[in-house]
Point group: C2
Chain length 410, copies 2
C-alpha cells in the first residue's frame, strides 16, 4: 500500500517553488522555480537508488533497476510545470504518485521484474512554449529535437536556451529509440467535472479526444478613432469579436454541441495598442476539441468559412494556421486492463475519455500506455482553485501501484 500522508507531504514540498498567494501555482516550464523543483525531484529519486538520465529536451528519467535490466524500464510519468494561473495537482499529482510508488517499492525492498522509471516530462503545459506535451512529443517522434529547442516564449527566449540556463539540457538523445521505455502509466487529475458529478474518486482512462490548435491573424487598417466615420473603417478587433462569437456558436448549438465538441479562443492581443488608433492587427489562439477527429475537422471547416465571410464583409483579411494536431486515440487494451483491475480492487469502475492532452498521448505512439484520472473539485483546473482531496490523491497513487505491479508481472 502507498503511504497517503507521504504522498500529500511530497505535494506540499514540491509546491514550495512557484506557489502564488491565491493558493495556486505559477511554475512555467524552465523558469527558476522549475529548476528548483527538478533538483528536488532528482534528490528524492536518488534516495531510492535511482540512476538519473536527463535527455536533450530536459526530460528526466529516474531509473530503479529491476531483475532483468536488459529490458527498458516501465515508465510512470507526468509533468512538474504548470500554467501561469495553475493549481497544485495538474501534472504534479502524476509525478508525485509515481515517486510514491517508487518509495513504496523501495521501502518494501521489492525487486521488480523490469526496471522502473519515474519520468518528469518537460513543458507539458505548452503555456510558455507552445505546443503542449512538447518534450514527450519529441521523445515519441512527433517533433524533432530542433523544433523543440527552437520554440520561443512571448519574450523571445527559446526552450533550448532556457534548458541550458537552468542546467537541464542533457546529453541523452531525446527519442524512444535511444532511450526506450517498456510502457507508460500516468496519473492525472481529470480537469473536468465528470467524476465530481458522479461522486467517484478515480476513473480508468480509455483514450484521449481529438484536439487542434491554431493561430488566427486578423488584419484591417489603422485609423483615427475620433475622426474616422463608422462606415469607413476596417476594424480588425470588431472582426475578431465576431470570430470569437461565431466560434462559440458552432459548439454550443446543434449536433456538434450534442457530440461534445469544444472550441475556445483564450489568447488575444491587438495592435498597435493605442486607445485612439483603430486596431490594425489582432492575433488570437484557437483551441478546438471533440471526441471524434471528424468533428474537430468539421468545427475547423465551419470556422474557416465563417471567418472568411466575416473578413470579406468588413474589408479585413484573416489567416488561420493549424500549428498542432493531436488525433483521438485509444490506449493499449492490456495496459487499460491493468488499470481496470487495480481500480476494481478499490471499488472503482468508471471509465472516461480524456478531454485534455497528456504526455501519455505521445508516449502511446511508441509504447503501451494507460492513464488513471483523479477527481478534482467542480472540475476546475488551470486555475489556482484546483483541488483534489487527500483521499482521492491516495486512491490515484494506490491504483497506479496496483496497475504497475500487474503490468510488471505480465
Amino acid at each position: 500500500s502507498i503511504d497517503a500522508e507521504r504522498t500529500m507531504s511530497m505535494i506540499e514540498a514540491s509546491c514550495a517553488w512557484g506557489s502564488t498567494p491565491d493558493g495556486g501555482m505559477n511554475r512555467l516550464s524552465c523558469n527558476d522555480d522549475d529548476r528548483k523543483v527538478r533538483d528536488w525531484f532528482v534528490d528524492e529519486a536518488k534516495k531510492c537508488g535511482c540512476e538519473i538520465k536527463v535527455d536533450q529536451m530536459g526530460n528526466i528519467f529516474a531509473i530503479r533497476p529491476g531483475q532483468n535490466n536488459n529490458l527498458p524500464p516501465i515508465g510512470l510519468g507526468s509533468h512538474l510545470d504548470t500554467q501561469p494561473t495553475g493549481g497544485r495537482y495538474d501534472g504534479i499529482l502524476g509525478v508525485i504518485s509515481a515517486l510514491e510508488v517508487l518509495k513504496t517499492i523501495h521501502a518494501n525492498n521489492v525487486t521488480t521484474y523490469a526496471p522502473l522509471a519515474v519520468v518528469n516530462w518537460t513543458n507539458e503545459e505548452g503555456a510558455r512554449f507552445p505546443p503542449a506535451m512538447l518534450c514527450s512529443g519529441v521523445w515519441g517522434g512527433e517533433f524533432s529535437v530542433d523544433y523543440g529547442h527552437s520554440r520561443t516564449d512571448p519574450g523571445g527566449k527559446s526552450l533550448g536556451q532556457e534548458l541550458e540556463r537552468i542546467g537541464y539540457k542533457g546529453d541523452v538523445p531525446c527519442s524512444y529509440d535511444a532511450n526506450p521505455l517498456l510502457a507508460h502509466f500516468e496519473v492525472h487529475i481529470e480537469q473536468g467535472p465528470i467524476l465530481d458529478v458522479a461522486k467517484e474518486a478515480i476513473a480508468v482512462v480509455t483514450g484521449v479526444q481529438s484536439m487542434c490548435w491554431y493561430h488566427i491573424d486578423v488584419a484591417g487598417r489603422e485609423a483615427h478613432t475620433g475622426t474616422t466615420p463608422m462606415d469607413r473603417r476596417s476594424d480588425a478587433l470588431l472582426g475578431a469579436a465576431k470570430i470569437i462569437i461565431e466560434t462559440n456558436r458552432f459548439v454550443t448549438e446543434g449536433e456538434l454541441a450534442a457530440r461534445g465538441a469544444r472550441a475556445t479562443i483564450a489568447v488575444i492581443n491587438s495592435l498597435p495598442q493605442s486607445i485612439n488608433t483603430i486596431a490594425g492587427k489582432v492575433k488570437m489562439g484557437l483551441d478546438i476539441r471533440a471526441p471524434a477527429d471528424a468533428d474537430t475537422a468539421k468545427v475547423e471547416e465551419l470556422c474557416r468559412n465563417s471567418f472568411q465571410k466575416i473578413a470579406e464583409e468588413a474589408g479585413l483579411t484573416v489567416a488561420v494556421d493549424r500549428f498542432w494536431t493531436s488525433p483521438a486515440l485509444h490506449f493499449d487494451p492490456t495496459m487499460v486492463n491493468c488499470v481496470r483491475e487495480s481500480a476494481k480492487s478499490l471499488g472503482c469502475a468508471m471509465e472516461l475519455v480524456s478531454g485534455a492532452g497528456h504526455d501519455s498521448v505521445y508516449a502511446s505512439r511508441k509504447v503501451p500506455t494507460a492513464m488513471i484520472f483523479v477527481r478534482c473539485r467542480d472540475g476546475i483546473s488551470h486555475n489556482p482553485a484546483e483541488y483534489s482531496s487527500p483521499e482521492d490523491c491516495a486512491a490515484g497513487a494506490q491504483t497506479l501501484l496496483g496497475a504497475y505491479l500487474r503490468y510488471d508481472d505480465y
Copy 2:
C-alpha cells in the same frame, strides 16, 4: 509669404528620427528619436533668435521677442510625438508650420507687436502615456504636474523618468500662470475625410467634439479549454467580444449614429495568455466621441447597462472606469475670425468641428485659441499611409501666417 519648399524640407528633416520602412513614423513620446527631433527643433528655433524655455513637462517654448515684451507671446504650437503606427503629418505639420512662420518673419526682419512662441507640446498622442494632450493639459490646468509625471507606459516607465532621461525635464513651472501665452494657434491635418471629399485644401476649425476614454476590465474564471463543458464556463473573452459588438451597434444604428457619435475598442489583452486556459481576465480601452456632450453621455449609459447585462448573463464581472473626459468646445470668435479672414484670402471657406483632440483643446482653457485643418488623403491618419500634399501643407502654413499676423495686429 511662407516658403513652401522650405516647409517640406523641414518635414523631411524632422522625420529623419523615428521613420519606419513603410513610410510612416514611430516616435513615441520621450523615446530616443523624440529626444533627437527636440534637439533639432531647438537648433532651428535658435537660428531665428529664439530664447528656449523648457517646462517641467518637457513642453518647449521657443520665443522670439516682439516690440512689447511685457506681453506674453502668441503661441503657435502642436506636437512632434507620433503614434506607434503613425504618419509624417499628425502634429509634425503643426510644429513645422509654426517654425515656417517664424522663419518667414525672421527672414523678413519683421518685429511683431507681441513676442512669438513656437511651442512643441509633450505627449500629445497619449499613445505611450495615456491620456492624450497630457502636457498641454498640465499647462492648461486640467492635470497636475504630479499626475503628468506619474503616467506610465506599458513597460512601467513613468513620463517623469523618461523626460529626465532624454534631458527635457525643464525648470520652468508647467502652468499658464507661471509661463503664459497670449493666444494659441495650431495647424493640424484633419485626420478625417471631410476636406478630401469636399476637395478643399484647408478648413477653419470652429471647435472640438466631446470625447471620453475608459478602461474596461472583464473578469471570469480560468478553466481548462479541453475539459470544461461549454455550459460550465465563465469566459471573460467571450463576454468581451459581446461588449465590442454591442458598443459598435450603439453608434452604427439609430439617432446616435445619425448625430455622428463614435465608439471604438482598439486595445485588448487577455489573461493568462495561455491557449488552453479560458481567459479569466480581459482588459480593454474604450473611446467614445460625439459632437454633443449629451451624446457621449448617452453612449456611455448604453454601454454601462449593456455590459452589466452581458456580464450577469455569463457569470462575469465588468468594471468601467472613465479616466479621461474632454467636453465639446467652441474656439474663441476673434481667433476663429483671424483664421477665417486668412483662409478667405486663399479662397478657402470651409468650416469644421474637429473629431480629434488637440493641444489647442487645453490651450483654449486659458487663452483665445483657434485651429486650421489641412486636408489629408482619404482621411487616413494614425497610419503610415497618412499623406498631405505639399500644396495643402503650404496652404496650411500660409493660413497660419495670415491668421497670426492678423491677431498680432489686433
